[in-house]
């Protein structure tokens, strides 16, 4: 059992969720409630990671993150490290790759809040931020929570992109999914089985917690 790999995966999933939570709320709300030019295009771009094979997507990110590229240079200047084959690079890749999982369910959640309800909030004197906090978020919460659970679970299991962008550096980029693959390659089926079982347990636990929370929210909304 590779505890380092599991811990790394949990950290990666945690960071991804943490970064994508505000993104999913703001982008999901904008896509649900507003009409703007290029909205269809934005929705299509968000969907892209869902359609592209992870290996292909990972390859493009690897190319884009390289030391000599614009993105790589900026990262180097800002944080003084490189993006490829580093944990930070994994987080960035994971955030991009999880956009559809984070935004789509949140968008569905915000679409459940009617325009009249948003207008009522404004006519009650609530500023847009207050209305978001007091009215829209509580009502869209099941969608946002689904988004975060999907993102978390999806990040734990992601393989192709992680391998492409991060390689398999122990303690840096070797996540549990890669560790499982690594063990299988080494004919260490027992370790692979244990780690797979741990992933299954974590996934089941996540789903159970989500359902419990959803039920509570459902009761709260009557």
């Amino acid at each position: 059992m590779d505890w380092t790999a599991l811990w790394l995966s949990l950290q990666l999933a945690g960071w991804t969720v943490l970064i994508l939570l505000p993104v999913s709320v703001l982008a999901g709300r904008a896509l649900a409630a507003r009409e703007f030019r290029g909205k269809r295009l934005a929705e299509a771009v968000v969907m892209l990671p869902l359609i592209l094979p992870p290996t292909v997507f990972g390859f493009y990110l690897l190319v884009a993150f390289g030391r000599d590229t614009f993105v790589g240079q900026i990262w180097q200047t800002l944080f003084g490290g490189q993006l490829v084959f580093s944990f930070q690079g994994l987080v960035v890749a994971s955030v991009i790759f999880n956009l559809p999982f984070a935004i789509q369910p949140a968008q569905r959640g915000f679409e459940a809040v009617s325009r009249e309800l948003r207008e009522a909030a404004a006519c009650c004197g609530m500023s847009p931020w207050r209305a978001l906090w007091k009215v829209e978020l509580p009502l869209a919460w099941p969608g946002v929570m689904t988004a975060m659970v999907l993102t978390f679970a999806h990040t734990l299991g992601e393989f192709g992109i992680v391998l492409m962008v991060g390689g398999a550096i122990p303690g840096e980029t070797k996540t549990i999914a890669i560790a499982i693959y690594d063990r299988v390659q080494a004919f260490d089926d027992r370790s692979a089985a244990i780690m797979s079982a741990v992933l299954v347990a974590i996934s089941l636990f996540t789903i159970a917690v989500t359902f419990a929370l959803s039920a509570r929210v459902g009761r709260r909304l009557g």
Partner: protein, 362 residues
Amino acid sequence: MALEVMARAEAPIPLDVAFTVAPGALLALVGPSGAGKTTLLRAVAGLWRPEAGRVAVDGVTWLDTGAGVDLPPHRRRVGVVFQSYALFPHMTAAQNVMAAMDAPDGAEAARLLDLVNLHGLADRRPAELSGGQQQRVALARALARRPQALLLDEPFSAVDRATREKLHAEVVALRAHLNMPVVLVTHDVHEAQLLADRMVVLAQGRVVRAGATAEVMSDQEALRAMGIREVAAMLPATVAEHLPYGMTRLTVADGALYLPRIDAAPGAQVRVRIPAHEVILSRARPEGLSAQNILSGQVVRTVPGAGPAVMVHVAVGGHEVLARITRRAAGQLDLQPGMPVHVILKAMSVARDQIAPASPSR
């Protein structure tokens, strides 16, 4: 400190309307659907921006496209009751009301819920309330904003008739507590007549007729624009006593009306809606008629309309009753202004929903 509204637009519907509402007055925007009533209300609330427009209340300018002023809805002190109420489903009635306050005040919320006759339901969520109760919460929430203008968008259209009549009565009673301009959007002309001091009749985004309710409601032209042929007058009356056979006796200026039983205690002030086509005029005091209700008055004027009918305005104790009779009958009676006439009315022609509590005098 009146509410002044002017709005002009080409889209989504052509609109060119201006009106003013005095503080404490209730103005009804009436017209068929698509006339621009709700759009106009949304312009006042700041939920829709006309191409050119001005909205000012209490000396505060909410919108002035010429001067580039356009306050967002949450910066306008406006109370809105939406057609489907738009209550926040995750909040209780009291929380809904407090959501519209600058500083949540439980005691004030309780007072407002009492004001709209919602006792002991403060902790219910909207899903646990009937349509009429939700409507009352929406009204209390709109008032909790301490609005400079109160806007009601078809607020009674989603409840059944019995509830609607009750709510009408409550709104009339509530108006004694309201000192801001009130705008009511409705397609129901009767409702407008029961509740409003003044009416603006809209058709295809334009004002067909604006004026005092009684005035507009006796105007054939305006009524045609609203798609109604049935003109009616409102006559104030006092409930005198309840009689056997399910009848109620009311006293009006100088006579009595016998009507089907009214749900109001003796002494209550009501207004009776008298359809013009149900009124018979007689120069001599008639005898031996089955009609129970005979009031005496004087002819004020006779207004010819299109077709074979004329509208006779008859003064009955300081109020006008309208009688729609044929040109031929008017000619035979030789009606002249000032001439005494008797107004005859069948008791059953005044339905229960045509009786409203009297509005507070102003």
